[in-house]
């Protein structure tokens, strides 16, 4: 199998969306366009789960992973989620192929353990060599203020890990709410991990949390990139 491009959107937020269209719907839309949506909820207290159901729902609809964590363990979580979602994407492609060849019920898990081990080896190779396009969409509403240093550190960490892979990685950073729109692009596609963390904004931008519209808007970034590719080919 030739290594293709894995596209992910990583949403970092601390609560519930409160305006605009349903983020779950937007995540489902992203998934249909081949983009996996992962969500990490950053909370002060893990027991207090307000708005956390939405986090799980967005990730499920987006075919990705979700976690609820405290700011202190954000770095490790961001890396693990990205990695697991990459593996998940590759497995879901394999499952689809299997269903095509065998029957509707077949998944990798219904194969004997020995066969699964062989598949796992291939999956690891692919996830190491595939190109990764990762768009980070960060909630900058007022309540995120104290968590921003942890977010910055986590993004630096993530970029360092992804750049240690064999395959190429590119990153883009979006924040929401934007000044004039639901979300705004802070850093366009770059393969420079330093740029991602260095130009991370320090100021929060407002009280509303338009998660749905923000996802919709940031997705344009992936779609433009595709169009651009087609033109150059």
């Amino acid at each position: 199998m030739k290594a293709g491009t894995i596209k992910q959107l990583l949403l970092l937020t601390d609560g519930c969306s409160n305006t605009g269209e349903d983020p779950v719907m937007m995540a489902a839309f992203a998934r249909r366009r081949g983009i996996t949506v992962n969500v990490i909820g950053i909370v002060d207290d893990i027991q207090n789960g307000a708005g956390l159901e939405e986090i799980n729902a967005i990730a499920t609809a987006g075919g990705g992973e979700s976690r609820i964590v405290k700011a202190a363990s954000l770095s490790e979580t961001v890396v693990n989620v990205t990695r697991q979602a990459m593996t998940g994407t590759i497995y879901s492609i394999i499952n689809e192929e299997l269903r095509g060849i065998l029957n509707k019920e077949t998944t990798v898990e219904s194969l004997p353990p020995e066969t699964r081990s062989e598949i796992a080896e291939k999956v690891e190779d692919i996830s190491e060599e595939a190109a990764l396009e990762l768009l980070v969409l960060t909630d900058m509403s007022a309540s995120m203020k104290l968590k921003l240093p942890a977010v910055k550190e986590a993004l630096y960490d993530l970029a360092v890990t992804m750049q240690s892979r064999i395959g190429p990685s590119s990153f883009s950073l979006w924040t929401f709410p934007g000044k004039y729109s639901a979300a705004e692009e802070r850093i366009g596609w770059t393969s420079d991990s330093k740029k991602l963390a260095d130009s991370f904004p320090h100021l929060v931008s407002g009280g509303i949390t338009p998660t749905g519209p923000a996802i919709r808007q940031s997705l344009s970034s992936f779609l433009e990139m595709d169009e651009y590719d087609e033109k150059t080919i």
Binding site: S66, R67, S75, E76, N80, R83, T87, Y91, V108, E109, S110, P112, P113, E114, R116, S117, I119, A120, E121, V123, E124, E128, D157, V160, T161, M162, Q163, S164, R165, I166
Partner: protein, 295 residues
């Protein structure tokens, strides 16, 4: 998050593919990607790990590849992989050898701090063959190792972080992670592991100060210099945290010179065999010497 199958002591787990039965005795470990239980089956005691299908498959591969390294595995021997079926859901697991003994940090309780060097030597013995097999350990934390017998041989009990050299490290813990200290990349190469063992040694001796210094290697170097125990191996530890060691054997050799109080000799043109013998003697002497100090 995915649903886990959490059996209680006394439960019997039946493997879907082999038909083998495993009776759960107790939980012995819990990590980010799975839970390990002590179980009894027809072959006697073993360790059973539940994890997601992808992790089971990939850890199975790692364990099998380690057995190819040499007759004795630096990790647990792999026994079999299977599935448990409960209420229509499939829960993949694998069975491995049960290694008993204290974890590194438990081992250090009530012992003189100098024991950290014995563990470091043993860790370097562990890493040497692993690196030669083009793999790195990745997640080098005290909880992942067991002091297996009276000769203080160390074996790994969690293989989740083992990564092929040249790739990006699969699993790590911030405190022992080179990138988290902003001292280099997270690329799987011997110097990554050798950085981690140096921090691990520092943490075994000066836990709190090392944790507080996380992110600042210069501070860590300061801790090594100022600690009456760590400074005995100062030059070696500091060289390791600068990622200047690429070979576990060489680091061990330097460490032995260091703690026996001899300066690193300038390399003379000696026939290889005799210099090797000399190292073995120095090693044996150092271990006896350290043990003597501690008793």
């Amino acid at each position: 998050m995915k649903k886990r199958y959490e059996p209680i002591p006394g439960d019997v787990i039946r493997g879907k593919w082999t038909g083998h039965m495993w009776r759960v005795e107790r939980e012995i470990g819990r990590g980010a990607n799975g839970i390990v239980y002590l179980v009894t089956g027809a072959i006697g005691q073993a360790a059973l790990k539940f994890a997601d299908s992808a992790s089971v498959a990939s850890e199975t591969n790692t364990l099998k590849s380690l057995e190819r390294v040499r007759g004795t595995s630096p990790g647990p021997f792999f026994i079999e992989a299977d599935d448990a079926e409960k209420e229509g859901r499939i829960y993949p697991f694998y069975i491995m050898e049960y290694i008993s003994g204290p974890m590194l940090h438990t081992f250090m309780i009530n012992k003189k701090k100098e024991w950290a060097f014995v563990l470091l030597i043993r860790l370097l013995d562990f890493l040497g063959p692993l690196h030669q097999a083009s793999k790195i350990m990745g997640d080098l934390k005290p909880e992942n190792f067991i002091v297996a017998d009276s000769s203080h041989k160390i074996r790994a009990v969690d293989m989740g972080g083992i990564t092929k050299q040249g790739r990006s490290v699969k699993e790590y813990t911030s405190l022992y992670d080179r990138a988290a200290w902003q001292a280099g990349t997270r690329k799987a190469e011997p110097s990554y592991d050798l950085f981690a063992v140096a921090v691990l040694t520092a943490a075994l001796v000066e836990k709190k100060r090392t944790q507080e210094a996380l992110g600042d290697v210069e501070k860590l170097a300061g801790i090594i210099d100022s600690s009456p125990v760590l400074c005995l191996a100062g030059p070696v530890l500091k060289k390791a945290i600068r990622s200047e060691y690429h070979d576990a054997q060489l680091m061990k050799k330097d460490l032995l010179y260091c703690i026996t109080g001899k300066k690193t000799p300038t390399r003379k043109r000696k026939p290889k065999k005799s210099s090797k013998k000399w190292v073995v003697f120095a090693g044996a002497f150092a271990i006896i010497f350290v043990m003597f100090l501690l008793h």
